[in-house]
Amino acid sequence: MAADYGWWMPPDISTHGHGIDGLISALHWFMAVLFVGWGIFFTYCLVRFRVGRTPRATYELPKGKMSKYAEVVVVLFEVFLLLGMSIPAWDEIKNDMPDEENAFKVRVVAEQYAWNIHYPGPDGVFGTTAPELIDSENLIGLDPDDPDGSDDFVAINQLHVPVGETVLLQLSSKDVIHSFWIPVLRVKQDVIPGMVFPMWFTTKPDTNGTYQMACAQLCGNNHYKMYGDVVVETQEKFDEWYAYMTEDDDGEEEEDE
């Protein structure tokens, strides 16, 4: 299913996105009301007090309290947006991290100009990695002596997730700052080298489809090409793909044992 993209926000397939979208639309209504209000007053003044109609200005300043009231309303509404909408939405995203046990875990290792998606394999445990071990075969520097890592695999620019399941991501970068962004999931996080960032999302039911992830931070010449697929699929399809990738990657090693 291709998402419906247009001149406004892309569809939201996440369970937490309503907080962000609600805030954005409340803000834009607020902005529109203020701007139109100002605009009407402004235009009226330009017409009513043009030199042709009012040849002599009045020295006395208008005394009305309207502007005070308007400012108070603006402040109160901003307080509501801040305390009632933005802070709770941010708290849900940053502080309500899902349990590690109940979530599907995946690591994202960014580099110029690709997203290496590191899956833990059937054992659900990530192998240790080290930057010294990175080479053209071993894109994320997996330690070959670590048994936890033997069933791990890496898919470049391919993030597959089972629909409806909570996904817990760990983001890191090998080189420069990137910003991991999936517009339809309302998640965006700068990925700063030397640090590890947690991120989570849950897809709504029946949102199967192939979406895009993006890089939002200038990361070099091919920043513009740093996109990848986010494949949201049924559990069966996902398991099929997962099994295929696990075999594909580590089939030989298993024969050796």
Binding site: L27, F41, A89
Partner: protein, 573 residues
């Protein structure tokens, strides 16, 4: 006063090149920065071609760009160079030097009734340091490495490893030095050299705006200067202030000491760059206030609240910087603090805008060319300010951060906002500086073209940003949501080119009016502030007799007065 010194005939070089006269320096600043503005805008017009028609063939024009264009097609690294240099040139070489160096230098001493700046030689040093910095920046296009290509924000590690950054940092050191010299001078001049009777609450609002701006420059720039030196060390001396351990670039372990943190740069950078936003906007508000008071023929509404709001804005601008960094891994404590301060800082902006709009009530509005630009500033700044709200709240920033929405937002503040105000200021004070008016018809052509196409350039960006298009993309059509709004990109590009065309009447007007403009007397706008009681153009030393001030800055239409304006210098209204 050392009269014989002032009236000494100076040679051409001392009078017009290495001048210590604040008016000559002001004009030098203004003309230099206008040239840089045109240059920075041209860079953007070239970028807009790639954006509208990705990988289109530049044909014969491509030859101009040398290495940047290969077989007619722009290279991504060249696009990034243009982007980084567009931002750098417009902010540090264009708008700030014009608003502060140009208008501040020319107008401020005249408005406070001073013969010159407090430190004329420091003033000259400030201009020449600026020019050297500017030349270094432009010259970087012709170096083997080319100019900086890591964005005007220069985030490491990218900026630590990308070519072109060293010369950018050197240029910045000169530009920052220039700003520091200038700001010290403005502060001392305003505090020490006010004319007799010119108390702080009789200062024109423009002077207040410049004073607060100078404090921002003085206090905010040193951290960036330090940061620039640290980045220079990272690049040249093998230090790792901004580089963590274990970086692997292009498959190879980077051979650096490590242990640094890229986030440190962002804090230092934004500690400058957020106050810098107010450096860009406050002088514009100052200019607009002068012109609105003059053309409404009545006092500004809420003059004192304007002043208090501006001072408060100045203070607050130092504690909002991390709202540029919500997505760098901040938890609730940090983000709550910075969202709150950001909402607080929106209040004085609303107060200022409201005061300026209410000033129209009961007025007798003359639609002169400077007034058209000043009036247009108000709704444009309103859009720029309002669209800052979704970016200043952390939750909505998740979707909008680093998208075109941001570009639209800050350009509405700086381009249709500040630049409109700067044009207003040029049309307004041109008769003072030259003794002649600028042409009205060309002025109207310039205004309407600029107003319409400015909006044509930036309005589509909000929709692009909503759709999710990242900024700084050489080609957005690889993204599905980018392809969906490509038509908006094309509309924006054509508006940018037409905006370029709309500047032609201005350029002609600016130069032709020096000789061909209609002659004016000392006070062609029937204004009240002190600069209009000096001759046009004012001589070295400015005032024929030392001015004494008897009243507030905006005494228009005073009941019982003989005329509808009562100059500050007149003893009797």
């Amino acid at each position: 006063m050392s009269d014989e010194h002032h009236h000494q005939e100076l040679g051409f070089i001392q009078k017009y090149v290495f001048s210590v006269d604040h008016k000559v320096i002001g004009i030098q600043y203004a003309v230099t920065s206008l040239i840089f503005l045109l240059f920075g805008f041209t860079l953007m017009m070239v970028m807009r071609a790639q954006l509208a028609y990705p990988n289109g063939d530049f044909g014969i024009i491509g030859k101009i760009f040398g290495r940047g264009v290969e077989s007619g097609v722009m290279l991504p690294e060249f696009y990034n160079m243009l982007g980084a240099m567009h931002g750098t040139v417009m902010i540090f070489l264009g708008v700030v030097p014009l608003a502060v160096g140009g208008f501040g230098n020319y107008v401020l001493p005249l408005q406070i009734g001073a013969p010159d700046m407090a430190f004329p030689k420091l003033n000259m040093a400030s201009y020449w340091s600026f020019l050297v910095g500017g030349i270094i920046m432009i010259a970087s296009f012709f170096t083997p490495e080319g100019p900086a290509q890591s964005g005007w924000t220069s985030y490491p590690p990218l900026s630590d490893i990308n070519p072109g950054q060293t010369i950018w940092l050197l240029g910045m050191v000169f530009l920052i030095t220039s700003s520091l010299l200038g700001s010290v001078n403005f502060i001392v001049t305003t505090i020490q050299l006010r004319a007799e009777g010119l108390s702080f609450f009789r200062l024109p609002f423009f002077v207040w705006a410049q004073l607060v701006t100078s404090f921002l420059l003085l206090l905010a720039f040193p951290p960036l200067e330090a940061a620039a030196v640290l980045q220079l060390m990272d690049r040249l001396a093998g230090t790792s202030f901004f580089l963590p351990s274990g970086l692997v670039v292009g498959g190879n372990m980077l051979d650096v000491a490590g242990g640094g943190n890229p986030l440190l740069w962002q804090h230092l950078f934004w500690f400058l760059a957020h106050p810098e936003v107010y450096v860009l906007i406050l002088p514009a508000m100052g200019i607009v206030s002068e012109i609105i008071a003059n053309n409404t023929r009545k006092p500004l509404w809420g003059y004192k609240s304007l002043v208090y709001a501006t001072v408060f804005l100045g203070f607050m601008s130092f504690i909002v910087w991390a709202h540029h960094m919500f997505l760098t891994g901040m938890g609730s404590t940090m983000s709550n603090f910075f969202q709150t301060t950001t909402m607080i800082i929106s209040v004085p902006s609303v107060v200022i805008l409201t005061a300026l709009i209410i000033s129209l009530w009961g007025a007798s509005i003359r639609f002169t060319v400077p007034m058209l630009f000043a009036l247009a500033f108000l709704p444009m700044f309103a859009i720029g300010g309002l669209t800052g709200l979704p970016l200043g709240l952390a939750a909505s920033d998740i979707h909008l951060h680093d998208t075109y929405y941001v570009i639209g937002h800050f350009h509405y503040v700086v381009a249709p906002g500040t630049i409109m105000a700067l044009f207003a200021g040029i049309y307004y004070w041109y008769p003072k500086a030259t003794g002649r008016f600028m042409n009205k018809l060309l002025g109207h052509m310039h205004f309407w073209g600029t107003f319409i196409f400015m909006n044509g350039v930036f309005m589509p960006m909000f929709l692009q940003g909503m759709a999710g298009v990242s900024r700084r993309l050489y080609d957005q059509t690889g993204y599905l949501h980018g392809e969906a709004v490509q038509d908006l990109t094309i509309a924006s590009s054509w508006s940018a080119w037409l905006l370029g065309v709309a500047q032609i009447p201005f350029i002609i007007n600016f130069f032709l009016s020096i000789k061909a403009g209609k002659k004016t007397d000392n006070n062609p706008w029937q204004a009240t502030t002190l600069e209009w009681s000096a001759p046009s153009p004012p001589p070295h030393g400015n005032f024929l007799t030392e001015p004494v001030v008897y009243r507030g800055p905006y005494e228009y239409s005073v009941p019982g007065a003989s005329e509808d304006f009562s100059p500050q210098i007149n003893k009797n209204a």
